[in-house]
């Protein structure tokens, strides 16, 4: 067969076991960073994990050992034994920034497109399905990013808001998309936009989305989602281009 390109090569991507173990480690680390799994929580037992991830027992063991070595989980013996989350992953800011540097403009635009589509779909369903109490709760969550004062806290607060949108949409599929998008973007975002000004912008964007949902304004919600996502992308691209193509001119 001739050399594969683009879309084709994705089809035949190899799936070695060592990558699967890494993928499990990444998935759990991200879940903990996003605040989906909390300190003190117990992980499912080994054979449950094996079944859920659809991998060999040895692969799950490798992944858990790696998390143990990183001080993120601990396995206790005995009656109240099990594997527990005891630490938060240390975010390596350099590798998070590196991730953004390797994305092309086309890939960043694609990411923006999917975030906008997903955001619009979630808010559209939230308008149909959320009750006033749900929206009050969303508004409280929307404000959290404004008071978060570290990249880690901003990651948790921002994630929490977007996850809650999927919760109000009552859609498991949109939740899965939301989670995947957050995994790909959110940690890099808040390690690059490390300022209280950016956090204040994010909060006002979040509140604009809440206001539109509360008044059942689909067009307004669409516009608010678009503003929020494009602002983040604009800022990320400005940072990326300044890193990659420095120029003397003040922008």
């Amino acid at each position: 067969m001739a050399e594969l390109s683009g879309v084709q090569s994705q089809v035949f991507r190899p799936l070695p076991d060592v990558l699967r173990a890494d993928a499990i480690v990444d998935r759990l680390r991200t879940a903990i960073s996003l605040g989906l799994l909390r300190q003190g929580e117990q992980l499912p037992v080994e054979n449950q994990l094996t079944a859920m991830f659809g991998v060999a027992t040895a692969t799950v063991r490798d992944a858990l050992q790696s998390l143990r070595d990183q001080g993120i989980i601990e396995t206790r013996r005995g009656r109240s034994g099990g594997t527990f989350i005891i630490g938060t992953p240390r975010i390596d800011p350099d590798s998070l920034r590196q991730r953004v540097l390797t994305l092309s403009m086309a890939e960043l635009r694609d990411l923006e497109d999917e975030q906008i589509s997903n955001g619009m779909a979630c808010t559209r369903l939230a308008i149909d399905r959320a009750d006033p109490a749900d929206i009050d709760r969303l508004e409280r969550i929307a404000r959290q990013i404004g008071v978060a004062n570290s990249p880690e806290a901003r990651v948790r607060a921002d994630s929490r808001f977007h996850i809650e949108l999927a919760v109000l949409a009552q859609s498991e599929r949109l939740m899965a998309t939301t989670m995947r998008l957050l995994t790909e973007t959110i940690e890099s975002l808040w390690n690059i936009l490390d300022s209280t000004e950016d956090a204040a912008w994010a909060m006002s964007d979040h509140l604009a989305i809440v206001t539109a949902i509360r008044s059942g304004d689909v067009d307004g919600a669409n516009a608010a989602v678009r503003t929020h996502v494009t602002r983040n992308t604009y800022r990320l691209i400005a940072w990326r281009l300044a890193e990659l193509y420095p120029v003397e001119v003040d922008r």
Binding site: S5, G6, V7, R109, E112, Y234, A238, L241, Y245, D250
Partner: protein, 240 residues
């Protein structure tokens, strides 16, 4: 005149130079391919696929001289070599001075048939005889990548038959064009004839988006030195 007019003009000039050089060499590729095919055919009447293979050195040479394009070659309509199928003699760079032939599915009845004779990058050049740039577009069933296709007319033995050209992956154009565009202290982009962003210097004008009406104070300049309909747009930064 706005604060960024001069910088925008300089950038347009630099971009024009770059494209002119590539297109000049595409015309050379067309000539060299014509010669190679005729030499290989000799006195035989009909053309064969093997005659087309003879353009390899010309394509490899082009890809060696220009590092942004990733594949180059010639394209011929149905009836030139085969009565049932068109021909795409397309070589993709695999290393320094090396290339591999790209295989396309050109059998009309097959699933995944690459119906290039209905695509604009082919029909426009064949009908007008003018060079074109097509895209950015997702070349489904072709290269299966997000690319731009640059084409010039191809003549065999003086007879215009098809096209010669190259594909540029959108992301490879960034490294050449963004440094040029970054000298403009504004949100600026290179835009296609169809008003689609090819590459921009910020998150304002993102590849593939249509520019539409420009905001007040913005400007649009034709890219000089080519007849490709390319232009440069520049507007006050959205967020500073």
């Amino acid at each position: 005149m706005s604060a960024f007019t001069e910088a925008a003009n300089e950038a347009a000039e630099a971009i024009g130079h770059w494209f002119s050089a590539v297109y000049d060499d595409l015309y050379s590729l067309a000539k060299a391919s014509d010669r190679a095919i005729r030499d290989n055919r000799g006195r035989r009447d009909a053309l064969t696929d093997k005659d087309l293979r003879a353009i390899r050195p010309a394509a490899v040479g082009f890809l060696d001289r220009h590092h942004v394009p990733e594949a180059a070659g010639i394209v011929l309509p149905t009836g030139t070599v085969d009565a049932e199928r068109g021909s795409v003699e397309w070589w993709r760079r695999t290393g320094e001075n090396d290339a591999q032939r790209v295989v396309f599915n050109l059998t009309p009845s097959a699933a995944g048939f690459y119906d290039f004779q209905s695509l604009e990058w082919f029909t426009d050049v064949v009908t007008t005889g003018e060079p074109t740039i097509h895209g950015p577009y997702l070349d489904y069933a072709g290269m299966d990548q997000y690319i731009l296709t640059l084409m010039v007319p191809f003549a065999l033995d003086g007879e215009p038959v098809g096209t010669a050209g190259c594909d540029i992956e959108v992301r490879s154009l960034e490294t050449t064009m963004i440094p040029i565009l970054r000298h403009i202290p504004a949100d600026a982009a290179l835009v296609s004839k169809r008003d689609r962003v090819i590459v921009g210097n910020s998150g304002r004008y993102l590849v593939g988006n249509r520019v539409g009406d420009l905001p007040k104070g913005a400007l649009r300049i034709d890219i000089p030195g080519t007849s490709l309909g390319l232009s440069l747009v520049a507007a006050e930064p959205l967020i500073s």
